[in-house]
Amino acid sequence: MGVIDLDRLEVRLGARTVLDGLTGELQGNAIGLLGPNGAGKSTLINTLLGFHPPSKGTARVFGLDAHRDRARIRGAIGYMPENDSFIGNMTGVHFVRYMAELAGLPPGPALERAHEALFYVGLGEVRYRKVNSYSLGMKQLIKLAQALAHGPKLLILDEPTNGLDPMARQRMIQLVKEIRKEGSVKLLISSHLLRDIDETCDEVLILKNGRIAALCNIEAERRSNRSFMELETVGATEKFSVSIRGLGCECACFPGGRIKLVIPDNIEVRDLYVIASEQGVQIRRMNQRRDSLEDIFLRAMDNEPGRPAHVSL
């Protein structure tokens, strides 16, 4: 059982199909949700929260049906919405306590957890100030505090670094990393910023036009890229490439003596130098290229529209 299971999930809002046949099992500790505007990210989050009933298929969170069991799911989820969403005339601690009680905590523990959550996110000193007097960064943090206070099993963060300055963004990313490291909370992070997802997530779901454009494990992709290499050579490049093919490498030659190759596990980099030396080829530059999330995203966007694809590199 994954954290989130989607089975031919289709969601229609009015006459428009917003999510179209999503199928996949998300089981990472931190799942990134990427996609251009209008791809269906927010609709997917709202469907997982039980706001939108699926018109076809199912969405499951921890094995529970997202619509039928929405009360139980909401009790296990902490949700930080993208836009401003708070009660401005309440103090920070009063607001977080209120949300914790709504999530099911008795009044005493709710107050205790509210204080702890506010200190944890760094709002301890301003917890008795009214929320509408907070800066934008503080408002983001109090949304995170209220999402954490009741100890959720799944934390849904919608654009957590939206509108933050670099320092505040770094702090938010650091908090997310700490929560992920602690291990008791799974994370679903929706963001437009690939770098945020890259830094915090181990699995990514990319949506395009309401369909899955890519679903991949970032860590696994990174591991598979370790054997991908770029060389710049001077000399008999063609002959050199034939020789390294003979070792079992897949390679492609480009003008200017550039060679891209994938090295099998049993071949060492030293073997390439040996062959180059034997053939009088100079290796001027060697790059062990790491495929970035941006590459994965761009490739997913280039895919045939709407075709679900597991990205392979």
């Binding site: 969403s85 401005g88 949300m99 905590l105 949304k143």
Partner: protein, 291 residues
Amino acid sequence: MSVYKNTYRAYTGPVTPLWMRIYVLARYGFAEAWSSKITVALFTLSLLPFAVFLIGIYLANNPLAQMVILKNASRGLNVDAAYFLNMLEIQSWIALAITAWVAPRLIGFDLADNALPILLSHPISRVGYVFGKFMAMFVSLSMVTWVPCLLLFVYQCYSSAQPWAAAHLSIAVGVFIGAVIWIAFLSILGLALSSWVKWRVVATGAIFAAIFVPAGVGAIVSAVLRTQWGFLLNLPVTMSILWQRLLGAPEFMRSVASLPTPAIVTVLVLACLLCVAMLNARIRAREVVRG
């Protein structure tokens, strides 16, 4: 998590049952309502008629005090259905004022800062949310309507020399049912209008307008068409008729006294359904972040 360790820890303690979430909403709504000095001032105002009617009951049941204070009065004080009807009517106007002040506070703060997506992402439904706010409103209004009226009834039962309670129990039942109908209607009307008006001051005005503008329209309709049915839009009049019938008091406006009770109840039910539809439309539109 801990304040001094500054680390995250999962919560492993007890969790309240789902129905308690409505109680949480009601409790916080009630606290919000009574955090305002104006609410407290209106409540204090509502105690003045209570005090006056309390003294009235004391005088009515104390011949010596009657002789001293009401020696020149042409007729003595009579504590009957009409007495409690007067009290209920005065308290009901104060309840309207409290509704106009409190209802926009209950809903307005949530809507002003777009709190609904966060509130409803917790294990609480739209119906539960509205019911929680309704309960906060209902309890607040109860404190100025049927509760003081029934306290007076109890005091009259205690003070009366003759066995009074058994013969007049229908007054207590009538006061309770009449007040509950009125405050339930006011609560739902106040919440519905507050959910549609962004500024709280305007919402306060809209609540008064929702009572008095249809009354004016109803009066015009009755005058132009020479019919009594226009009075159905006049809520103060229709509620007075309903209360008279519930308490068994003599009817005072013969021109509209023939309005049938089912027609009055139908108007109230239709108005409530309209308010529910307004609330549903508004809250449904605001429950999710549109992206």
